[in-house]
């Protein structure tokens, strides 16, 4: 088992190192930013009072717990750290369990004198070690900022504990599903569910201590991310919720191990149904294929978009109401938003829609990267041996990418609009849809840049494509939090999306991004035609 664990760790060394390092950088960066930005108590009090009166902020960030610098940092960043650890653990576990089984590596190992459950045991061990590393990195990051050691350790353990819990959940998902793709989707959806449950529980929590503390409602206690948050590091500290995370890991891990001992290699609880013997009318030609391959993914992205829409439309009203009821709070909010001519409601909707834009870009990127996956896995060779040009293959994927953006934005915008209508603001339907669609140009830029990379540096397409989106996301959405210089933030297309709805909307950057995208896409099609197929 130790040898298998070492082999798995070796295979993952770069990948895991970058996850762990990324989480550490986020921890130390955000801690430093809060120390700098909210140095004195009045600023922190203003922030917490703003937050506790705004369910949407509570939903995104978590619940505040007292005025100390540490607890404000914990409030600001913990949920993000926890979700990252959860995703790292999910991918790690599925990669080494169902992923290996799918690729036939489990069969290879199974032929040697080790038991059927040894490999999964090693994977769970690797997950535990990786999350221990996460805990250490987060603890060190917080402690390095000068925060008390006790709270830092608690934050680290809560982050690692969330990851650990999702190692167990993903191990079970890998038993249920027959493919690693399905297992990743299932476990990933559960990470999302954990975040949403916590968001819902925190948004509907009880405010106390004059707006400095919020106690989560019961739904937060259904979520491993919520458990992590309930350690209330640097505030009303309690290590007990860590036991819940550990217990979930142990129970789920045991279930997965028991299942792997009992079932056949390659079997799952959810089997493959046998499908059509002939292709339907939609699956003729490469455009039909590109759409077919992207379809289920688009549904997933659009569901995420719809959820954000619901968030924007459904919670905005409560947020505004809370502010309106409290004169002092209203004054604080106005102070914080000085310089912005938009109303609080508009700013709130625009902020959520910015996240929708990232989702749309992700969906579109997945569609356009598909052309590289087809090439790398040898299927493009089959397609191109038919009467299909290389340019056509790329153009079809670009078309599906654009459709993906539109579907995701439509889902988010329309649901947000409907939620506003339901909340008694029929006038905001149109502006919500518009707010969603101003995100389109930035997403197009990511698509066309990925296409250009595909044409010029095919082997780097996938890594660079997602990497650029991640960088763009961080620069665009967190650039302000990290106090990054403006020129750096301006590198991200997301930074050029205007705040809509708002009073003065500058359409020039949108037009510029659309033109840039068209030029880049056209160039990539021309260049892709001229290069060899690269495996």
């Amino acid at each position: 088992m130790v040898r298998l664990l070492r082999a798995q760790a070796r295979r993952d060394r770069w990948q895991l190192a970058s996850w762990i390092l990324g989480i550490g950088v986020l921890a130390i960066g955000s801690a430093a930013a809060v120390v700098q930005e909210f140095g004195d108590t009045t600023q922190r009090a203003a922030l917490l009072m703003l937050a506790s009166g705004n369910p949407a902020l509570l939903a995104v960030r978590g619940t505040p717990d007292g005025l100390s610098t540490g607890s404000v940092i914990f409030f600001e960043i913990f949920t993000f750290l926890a979700v990252l650890a959860a995703l790292m653990s999910t991918f790690l576990t599925v990669r080494h369990s169902r992923g290996d089984e799918e690729q036939g590596r489990t069969e290879l190992v199974g032929g040697t004198p080790v038991s059927r459950s040894t490999a999964l045991g090693a994977t769970l061990g690797l997950g535990a070690l990786a999350n221990l590393a996460v805990a250490i990195v987060v603890t060190a990051g917080f402690a390095a900022t000068g925060l008390p050691l006790g709270g830092s350790v608690l934050t680290g353990l809560a982050t690692g504990g969330t990851g650990l819990a999702f190692c167990g959940i993903a191990a079970v998902a890998a038993q249920v599903c027959r493919t690693s793709r399905a297992a990743n989707s299932l476990a990933g959806a559960l990470v999302g569910l954990a975040f949403v449950l916590r968001a819902f529980g925190d948004a509907t929590g009880t405010v106390s201590e004059g707006g400095l503390r919020v106690t989560s409602a019961w739904p937060s206690w259904l979520s491993p991310v919520g458990w992590g948050q309930q350690v209330h590091a640097f505030g009303h500290e309690s290590a007990a919720p860590l036991l819940l995370q550990l217990a979930l890991f142990v129970v789920a891990g045991a279930v997965a191990l028991a299942s792997v001992r009992r079932r056949d290699l390659g079997a799952g609880l959810v089997g493959d149904r046998s499908g059509r013997a002939t292709a339907g009318p939609a699956l003729t030609g490469t455009l039909g294929l590109a759409w077919r391959l992207q379809f289920s993914a688009v549904i997933g992205w659009a569901a995420g978009g719809a959820l954000l829409g619901l968030f924007a439309g459904g919670l905005a009203d409560a947020a505004v109401k809370a502010v309106q009821e409290d004169q002092a709070l209203a004054a604080t909010v106005r102070g914080l938003l000085s310089g912005s001519t938009s109303s609080l409601l508009d700013t709130f909707v625009a902020a959520i829609m910015a996240f929708l834009g990232v989702l749309a870009a992700g969906a579109a990127l997945q569609a356009v990267l598909r052309v590289r996956i087809e090439e790398a896995e040898g299927r493009a060779e089959l397609l191109l041996s038919g009467a299909v040009s290389k340019a056509r293959l790329l153009v079809d994927c670009l078309a599906v990418a654009v459709v993906s953006i539109i579907v995701v934005l439509l889902a988010g915008g329309v649901v947000a609009g409907l939620a506003f209508v339901g909340a008694g603001h029929p006038d905001r339907f149109g502006s919500s849809v518009v707010a969603a669609f101003v995100q389109l140009p930035a997403a197009l830029v990511f698509v066309s840049v990925a296409a250009l990379v595909f044409a010029l540096l095919p082997r780097l397409t996938i890594g660079l494509g997602w990497g650029l989106l991640a960088v763009g996301f961080v620069l665009g959405q967190f650039g302000g939090v990290f106090k990054l210089p403006e020129w750096l933030r301006n590198l991200s297309p997301f930074s050029h999306t205007p705040i809509v709805p708002g009073d003065s909307v500058d359409l020039a950057p949108l037009a510029a991004m659309v033109v840039l995208s068209i030029v880049l896409a056209a160039a990539s099609v021309l260049l892709a035609r001229r290069r060899d197929l690269v495996a």
């Binding site: 046998s274 499908g275 059509r276 039909g288 077919r292 289920s296 197929l533």
Partner: protein
């Protein structure tokens, strides 16, 4: 005869690696042409150039008289291709993949498709991810044969098939040949090439080393003799064109060039023979002769 494929001085560099180095290939219309060479000789690279998937670094190549790089789409309407390593879409069923691939050339002949699925004993309802290598290859083969083409380019098409399916495959080659189609078949399975091909091109390290009909090539090979006799080996060694004479217990073992067969048979008649095994020259030996010297050098190093 018109040449369906004509390649001369074909070279291809991948970075610093020279995959093809002045390859010559000529495939006449209507013939089944074997394309032989060991792994890494450049067979798949050549086929990919013929399909315009990659561009030759230098040299001339035409398929149906067209430039396969510039006129890829036009040429492909009449080409059916089976790659050496077939990868399918994990979420598409085998049947869907077949229909998708044939739709790119204008759609399958339904009756032909149904018969091929039956002959190849293929279940088209399963998802692509669950097929074995042999079954994935069947998808590409059925898709290739389910719509008539003028040229079939097959890259080691039977490497994952069992013997029964190989027979079905040979039946299809015979059928399309009878219909006048041209077939280019790369392989290192020699029996397959011997049975199916009219002419053969043998390549090594990106160069053509031999081309011709099997009869022509057999002149280049030796025949193995295994004779049960107590006579001394000296008489055989004296004949020009006899090689590697050695004694194995009761047997005298040697190889003879085609030109030396007559004196060898006369000598055998004279010395008195209790038993005789003569092995025909196979393409295996052709390979050994062409790559044997290289292997000897490798061993020496």
């Amino acid at each position: 005869m018109k040449a369906t494929i004509e390649a001369s001085g074909l070279a291809k560099n991948f970075g610093r690696v020279r995959a093809l180095d002045g390859l010559e290939l000529s495939v006449a219309e209507g013939e089944v042409h074997g394309f032989l060479g060991p792994n890494g000789a450049g067979k798949s690279t050549t086929l990919r150039i013929l399909l315009g998937l990659i561009k030759a670094t230098s040299g001339g190549v035409t398929v149906f008289g067209l430039d396969p790089w510039a006129d890829a789409v036009r040429a492909h309407r009449d080409i059916a291709y089976v790659p050496g390593d077939v990868n399918l879409w994990p979420s598409l069923t085998g049947g869907e993949a077949i229909d998708l691939l044939t739709s790119l050339r204008g759609g399958a002949d339904p009756a032909l498709r149904a018969r091929l699925i039956r002959d190849f004993d293929f279940d088209p309802r399963k998802k692509g991810r669950s097929y074995s290598k042999g079954n994935r290859q069947k998808v590409a083969l059925i898709a290739a044969f389910a719509r008539p083409a003028r040229l079939y380019v097959l890259d080691e098409p039977t490497s994952g098939l069992d013997p029964v399916m190989e027979a079905a495959f040979r039946g299809e080659i015979d059928r399309v040949k009878a219909q006048g189609a041209t077939v280019l078949l790369s392989s290192h399975i020699l029996s397959e090439v011997e049975e199916l091909c009219d002419r053969v091109t043998i390549i090594r390290a990106g160069k053509t080393v031999e081309t011709g009909t099997l009869t022509e090539l057999r002149h280049l090979t030796r025949t193995s003799f295994r004779v049960t006799t107590l006579t001394d080996a000296a008489a055989m060694t004296a004949i020009a064109g006899v090689h590697d004479v050695r004694r194995e217990a009761d047997h005298l073992v040697f190889d003879a060039d085609t030109d030396a067969l007559r004196p060898v048979l006369q000598e055998l008649a004279a010395i008195g023979v209790a038993g005789l095994t003569v092995s025909p020259p196979s393409l295996e030996e052709l390979f050994l002769r062409h790559y044997g010297d290289e292997r000897a050098r490798e061993v020496a190093n």
